[in-house]
């Protein structure tokens, strides 16, 4: 059965950028134009409300004093960065990779890439936390204080809204149209045309277009991305591909090793028997 697993894997397509599910439905995502963000944190508020989490006080500006990470109760956070062009705000949440490391890591498929684009978590999870090790953005958060812990992360409101044709709560709540919801193809086109229209306003780079094989959330910025808290050394290889080399070798070892060992055992047995025969003579 493990051999079959390995063979099934070899049939997976090896190309890097993924913008559509196997059924052909294009992944949806969000374009974040950080030049438009005013740091109002309406997205944080809407996110918490949509997921029944404690709603943060968005009037409190002291949260910007230091960089925040998402937590088990805050699936998205807005951070302020002092850059060469002044203060810039950047929203952080799950990037919803085209080929997510967490999904490849999960041994019970609790992490799933939905055909609509979101990466979601399911309750058949056993809590091994391998998804956390495998996420290039360190997004899945584990409830360490619970006897029955969940993995918490942005699900693009798949359960709450997307399934019924809605759009993510944060996108709806954004007053400045920093966030735009659409298919990856539409979003990349929009991002590109903005860069062409105002080349002085933007750096000529769309973060997430190709990072780790392409993510469903993409970003535009006026300053180099390392200045606003983005990892810029992730490469364009989809994370699952780092372990495919090993996985491809599994069926080979599984077939060749027993044959080799049985053969070797047969050889040594023959010698034993021959010795015995010679002794008899």
């Amino acid at each position: 059965m493990l051999g079959a697993a390995g063979t099934a894997l070899t049939a997976r397509r090896p190309n890097a950028a993924e913008i559509a599910s196997e059924s052909g439905e294009e992944f949806k995502g969000v374009l974040v134009d950080t030049t438009r963000c005013i740091g109002c944190r309406s997205c944080e508020e809407a996110c918490a409300a949509a997921h029944d989490l404690p709603v943060p006080d968005i009037g409190d500006e002291s949260v910007f004093k230091k960089g925040r990470d998402t937590t088990t109760t805050q699936l998205t956070v807005v951070n302020r960065y002092e850059t060469e062009k002044g203060a810039v705000f950047a929203k952080k949440q799950c990037m919803h990779c085209g080929q997510p490391g967490c999904v490849a890591a999960c041994l019970v498929s609790a992490m799933k890439k939905r055909p609509e684009g979101p990466v979601t978590w399911d309750t058949n999870c056993m809590g091994c936390r391998y998804c956390m090790v495998s996420c290039p953005f360190d997004i899945p958060k584990f409830e360490y204080d619970s006897w029955n812990p969940k993995i918490q992360k942005c699900n693009l409101c798949w359960e709450e809204r997307l399934k019924d044709g809605g759009i993510p709560a944060c996108v709806e709540a954004c007053p400045t149209e920093t966030l735009i919801f659409g298919t990856k193809r539409e979003l990349v086109e929009e991002a590109r045309s903005r860069i062409y229209r105002e080349p002085k306003k933007y750096v000529n780079y769309i973060y997430g277009e190709n990072e780790v094989g392409g993510t469903s959330w993409i970003y535009l910025s006026a300053v180099p991305f390392e200045q606003i808290g983005f990892k810029t050394d992730l490469g364009t290889t989809a994370y699952p591909e780092y372990s495919t080399g090993f996985l491809y070798s599994v069926p080979i070892v599984l077939i060749l090793w027993p044959a080799f060992l049985m053969g070797l055992s047969y050889l040594t047995r023959r010698e034993d028997e021959q010795e015995k025969k010679e002794e008899k003579r």
């Binding site: 890591a105 019970v108 056993m126 599994v250 090793w257």
Partner: protein
């Protein structure tokens, strides 16, 4: 052991229950130093595990969102399984290559390997956030076929079965079940072939788990060859532990051994030392090749470079040389020192991947360090394993020769 003279057979449940009850009774001195230390630790460990089940993982561990895997994975599972590698290496030597010299230690080694899987891979259960879902990948509550961990989980399960079959003739001899023993013995070669194949894959699979942690593990350690390095190092990790454990068992359980076994033991240790030296040299050579290809010279000047050199020179190359020297001059002390150094080296190597060089860019105050409760729980698991090992060794033909009726066939 007077019982071994009379062949007994447990024929029915009526025989079985009193027999088990009599075997469960403690033998020998109860207040040994080992017991005095281990009993409170195991007791405390049980309380801590119960507390963790109620209050969550964060209550007794220092795990965090940045460090999802700590000592229980890095030491118990990663290192414990590497040390259990002696079983597949020795079964290869004895059952496939048919080198009879090592036959006398095969049962102790396989038993050790089996118990290591039960206890150390079993320690995974307390590390899982939702342990009652551990059967999901087996019963098909979704198969994550593209997951390396799926493969490792299945291999653990199958390999434990294979090792149980390999050791089961000893259980049958203990119970005096002649026919069962015959059937079980006939399965040994199949189990060995299956077991070696599974070991090759999951020893390397444990390394392959870290492939997707690219960018989180220090470049001196992260390479696409991690799976091969894990596999090769499990060979000498397992053999070193056999040398270490064998040396202790020989003192502690000397009443189990006959003169022939005692006399052959030194030769066995020398042979194992040669095997270790060979595997370690191959490993060192691989490490050097990977280092050259990685072109990470600039890191050698840093503290991490020094730590890297300590591992591959101090705890691989030097013990490799000591093994060779000990084997050449038949100096067992040198061999034992080399085994201990190698064991420390393997512990450090596995911890480097999972804990120490993992997120190396996060400096110490925020970096994961195990809590005392994690250490106590780990010690409790190690002690519990030794208890079970001791119980089996003193009751079943593991170190001593099988009963006469078994060898006559």
């Amino acid at each position: 052991m007077s019982a071994k003279a009379t062949p007994r057979e447990v024929k029915s449940l009526r025989d079985f229950v009193p027999f088990i009850l009599s075997e469960l009774k403690p033998r020998g001195n109860i207040f040994t130093p080992f017991n005095i230390i281990s009993v409170p630790v195991i007791f405390l460990g049980v309380i801590l595990i119960a507390y963790r089940m109620v209050k969550g993982l964060g209550s007794i561990t220092n795990l965090s969102q940045d460090f999802p895997w700590g000592m229980w994975i890095g030491f118990d599972v990663m290192t414990g399984v590497a040390f259990a590698g002696g079983a597949y290496v020795l079964t290869f030597v004895v059952y496939i290559l048919r080198v009879e010299k090592y036959h006398s230690i095969i049962r102790a080694t396989v038993l050790n390997g089996f118990l290591a899987y039960v206890f150390y891979a079993g320690a995974l259960v307390i590390d899982l956030g939702r342990p009652w879902h551990i059967i999901n990948p087996v019963i098909g509550n979704k198969f994550g076929l593209s997951s390396v961990l799926f493969l490792v989980a299945w291999h653990f399960l199958l390999y434990m079965t294979a090792e149980f079959i390999e050791i089961s003739p000893a259980f049958a001899e203990w119970l005096g079940l002649k026919r069962t023993r015959k059937i079980l013995s006939s399965l040994t070669l199949g189990a060995v072939v299956f077991g070696i194949t599974l070991s090759t894959l999951h020893q390397s699979g444990l390394g392959a788990l870290f492939m997707m942690a690219k960018g989180k593990i220090h470049p001196l350690w992260y390479t696409q060859f991690i799976p091969i390095l894990f596999f090769v190092s499990s060979i000498f990790a397992g053999l070193s532990l056999v040398i270490f454990e064998g040396s202790i068992s020989h003192k502690v359980f000397s009443d189990q051994l006959d003169d022939e076994h005692r006399a052959s033991h030194n030769g066995i240790l020398i042979g194992l030392a040669k095997g270790c030296a060979g595997a370690m040299f191959a490993y060192f050579f691989l490490k050097v090749l990977i280092f050259m290809h990685g072109r990470h010279w600039e890191y050698l000047h840093t503290g991490w470079g020094l730590w890297y050199l300590v591992e591959i020179i101090g705890l691989v190359l030097i013990p490799c040389y000591l093994f060779l020297r000990g084997a050449m001059y038949r100096n067992l002390t040198v061999v034992r020192v080399a085994a201990v150094l190698t064991i420390i080296g393997i512990i450090i190597n596995r911890l480097n991947y999972s804990v120490i060089a993992y997120k190396w860019y996060i400096p110490l105050p925020a970096h994961y360090v195990p809590s005392w409760m994690e250490i106590v729980t780990t010690l409790a698991i190690v002690f519990a394993e030794i208890w079970v090992f001791r119980w089996i060794v003193t009751r079943m033909p593991i170190l001593r020769k099988p009963p006469q009726w078994a060898t006559e066939e």
